[in-house]
Amino acid sequence: MLCSGEELCLKEADYPGAEEYGILILKEDVPTGTDMREILHLNDVIIDFSITSNRPDCQSVLGIAREVAVALKREFRAPTPVYQTAGGDIHDHIAITVQDYDLCPRYMGRIVRNLRIAPSPDWMKDCLRAAGMRPINNIVDITNFVMLETGHPMHAFDLRDIAGNQIIVRRAADGEPITTLDGKDHVLNSDMLVIADAEAPSCLAGIMGGLNSEIKDDTTDLLFECAKFRRDSVRRTARALGMRTESSARFEKGVDTRGTEYAMNRALQLIAELDAGDIIDGVIDCHEELAEDRVLRVTADSITALLGVKIPTDAIVDILNRLEIRTVLEGDTLVCTVPSFRDDIEGRADLAEEVMRVYGYDHIVATPMTGSIIRGKKLPERIHTDLLKSTLIAQGMREISTYSFISSKAPDTLNLAADDARRNAVTLINPLGEEYSTMRTQLVSSMLTVLSTNHNRKNTAVRFFEVSKLFVPHALPLTEQPDEIPALALGLYGDGEDFFTLKGIVETLLERFALRVEFTRSEEPYLHPGRQAAVVAGGEVIGVFGEVHPDTADTYDLGVRTYVAQLTLAPLFAAVEKKHTLYKPLPRFPAVERDLALLCDEELPVAEIERTIRSAGGHLLESVKLFDVYQGAQIAAGKKSVAFSLYFRGADATLTDADIDPALKKIFDRLQEKGCTLRT
């Protein structure tokens, strides 16, 4: 196959001639049929490591090698950086000042002159490419190579571009500009650390160099930087500017303050090895007092006590020493000196982990729980929620689960008034999108969405419920945690479903929780104006239910009569707490039934008639059951016929007419006051 270098995404540095226009011509000595991966040195083995954030020391080849040596019980050998210098004195070329040690605990500089910029040797290019980096030239490649090998980001400045021969590590001035070497302009603030020369910022500390001081093909002298920048500072700046580089990633996780020296020397050794320039004598190393290696004193017993595994003390000492945590035994105390690159090791729990992961987690034997606790308890709310769900499930309802955040437009889809309290919702600062931007203050819109999905997928009948939380803020903008109010949504459609099937479910639920309520007309904009009711308990509206308003049904593309309810659950839970079920003896004498057919104004609510009958019926009236409501041919306009069965029962005798008549008389009288007449 004939390809151009460009088609293979190759650069000149990957293979000579790769950037020339036309077919890529391979060298004469490449035998025909050779695998292209061999020619491009792409057949290396690459191992991916997932490094936990507590182990920044392992973000380097040396760090991993150290771990591998411990695991395999082999000796760990790092390269020893030695090199020849060319004389001179760094102080003749540069002065370095650190103004903000709180953000830059250490800053080290070296000078290399008479650069001989050239492509790196193949072995170095191969390493860089295998690590996902593009070879540029020997100088830039050395900085990247050292970073990959040691974990220390390095930076190289073109010395001639450092104004006043001065490096100043300082916070940026508010509004100070910089152009980074990716060509982007940034405006800085005083929270951001820069490496500046006498005039202007030249580099975003630990993140990216400036365009003006980068290494160019004709650069002759350079300043190498190897530093330790505070990780939270780098993280904040990188975030604020929307930048993330190999360098910033390492500084954010943490770089060893002491290791800078080794990294710098390794870079200079490579300069010498690649004959890339002349190393000037002298180092400028700015730092405040470097912390001593920490010494931890713990007993072996305190380590094994946490693990529950008996590990011989000499094995513990051996493991820690192999990890370069220098450990000696004084009596029964382990005295452990923690190297600076392991600042994650703070105490016995950390040492226990080090010991255990090397000793082997397979030594941990499962032991059953013991102790005084026998059986766990559920919170009352959870017990009540279980009861709620089982009651609904018994009525053929399926539980659904929807997101807690919804579209900010949800109140509009429900036609909520401009001043409706449910519009006061908590919003997310960084939502995934508008449709997930608002913490819900009602469950109805989510329910309608689910009902719509089901209807449009031709599911002909559904009964759904959801138990979730409403997020009700105390004040906006939010200053404290909002109230999280447990609530229930019901939703259904299908043949045979109507306002009263939904009401029946609501009533069954309320009865199960022993909550006495009244149903009154309500005025939810998303419900049918004549087919909705409020559930009122103790004078407080705890929910509404009804048929969805045709306009809302259209909004949700629900081409079917749909019924929804929402209830807050606290009143139900409070009621059920007080519910105390006691057995009532079964009746010994038969009930006497009297039917009552009434004619009344059509606007008179049946519930009011029933209430009147019950209150007038006296103690013998056991139950009242509506069996017919009729309007039509035989009934005068504006009137309706309502028929009840009344059941009377005595505790110790079968009732006679004489017993019942006084109660009936009283009921008639009261009903007459309401404008009811007896139908004959």
């Binding site: 032991t367 919170l379 499930i393 053929g396 539980e399 659904i400 995934l432």
Partner: protein, 339 residues
């Protein structure tokens, strides 16, 4: 007279044999034995007989009467049972026709699995607690040893609601609330909804669910942690399931482990389900970090504990082999009806 009786007997029995309907039988009974029936008429006619013949004749007539009554009863029984048989035969059903079931309700699959978890842990003495979904940075991060700007905060992209308020990214926040409110011994799980700024796809949802576990007492070790998790794994994945710890890192536990169970699909030999390595990662756990204990006023020199966090959605999708987590939140009835 005797001949008359015999003739009546023969005629009646012959007629009776032909009867098929209960109504005919009743008419026949009335015609023979009713007040104006033939046998009754015979009894009445005895007045015409000489007095000395009457007893013998009376006896004969009564005999006939009894005989006919018995025959009638037998016939009645025969007709009833024949009719019953006919009815039963006529009422034969095609028993393969579908039943008339009411539409059954049910829990959401996530909550079916959660109910199992609660049962398992409750029986091991774990209380089941709740915590708020909107948390402060203190409970979600700082008290869990994740200070501001700590790289560990990179592990989770957090939805913020205000300066210091966020949607909890982990139920671990409930550890702190529990330890602040209660003194050891503590054994609790906290199931709940958590939020992370993950774009929605087949395996990610910005809303998902965890079950946090926490034990704090004197002398709690990593072996106890393994004991509890092994019990859990046996109940969920089967009693021959093995549990493996791998070193990991969570800011609020030290040592921290990832917990794997042997793949139940292949028994640990390696298959497509476990991507060939025989183990499936199920949760993160560890010994409660001494700094977390101390921050809640519990002396880490006296008490120790462990914590674990189970991903409920993942557990649910693996149990039911649900290929796309979005199905859990779409709530298609045909999906929900399967559980």
């Amino acid at each position: 007279m005797k001949e008359q009786l015999n003739a009546l007997r023969e005629r009646a029995l012959a007629e009776l044999a032909d009867l098929e309907q209960p109504k005919e039988l009743e008419e026949f009974r009335v015609r023979l034995l009713g007040k104006k029936g033939e046998v009754t008429a015979l009894l009445r006619g005895m007045g015409a007989l000489p007095a000395e013949d009457r007893p013998a004749m009376g006896q004969l007539i009564n005999q006939l009467r009894n005989e006919l009554e018995n025959a009638l009863d037998a016939k009645e029984q025969e007709i009833t049972s024949r009719l019953k048989e006919q009815r039963l035969l006529a009422e034969r059903l095609d028993v393969t026709l579908p039943g008339k079931a009411a539409d059954e309700g049910g829990l959401h699959p996530l909550n079916i699995v959660l109910a199992d978890l609660i049962d398992i842990f409750q029986s091991m003495g774990f209380d089941v607690v709740d915590g708020p979904e909107v948390e402060t940075e203190h409970y979600c991060f700082e008290a869990l040893n994740v200070p501001k700007d700590h790289p560990a905060r990179d592990m989770q992209d957090t939805f913020y609601l205000a300066e210091n308020l966020l949607l909890r990214t982990q139920t671990s926040a409930a550890q702190i609330r529990t330890m602040e409110q209660r003194k050891p011994p503590i054994r609790m799980i906290c199931p709940g909804r958590v939020f992370r700024a993950d774009e929605v796809d087949a395996t990610h949802s910005p809303v998902f669910h965890q079950v946090e576990g926490l034990v704090v007492d004197k002398g709690i070790t990593m072996c106890d942690l393994k004991g509890v998790l092994e019990q859990f794994a046996h109940e969920i994945y089967g009693s021959d399931t093995k549990v493996r710890f791998r070193p990991s890192f969570f800011p609020f536990t030290e040592p921290s482990v990832e917990v794997d169970v042997s793949c139940s699909a292949c028994g640990g030999k390696g298959c497509r389900v476990c991507k060939g390595n025989g183990w499936i990662e199920i949760l993160g756990a560890g010994m409660v970090h001494p700094r977390v204990l101390a921050g809640c006023g519990i002396d880490p020199e006296v008490y120790s504990g462990f914590a674990f966090g189970i991903g409920l959605d993942r557990l649910t999708t693996t149990r039911y082999k649900i290929s796309d987590i979005r199905l859990l939140f779409e709530n298609d009835k045909r999906f929900l009806d399967q559980f």
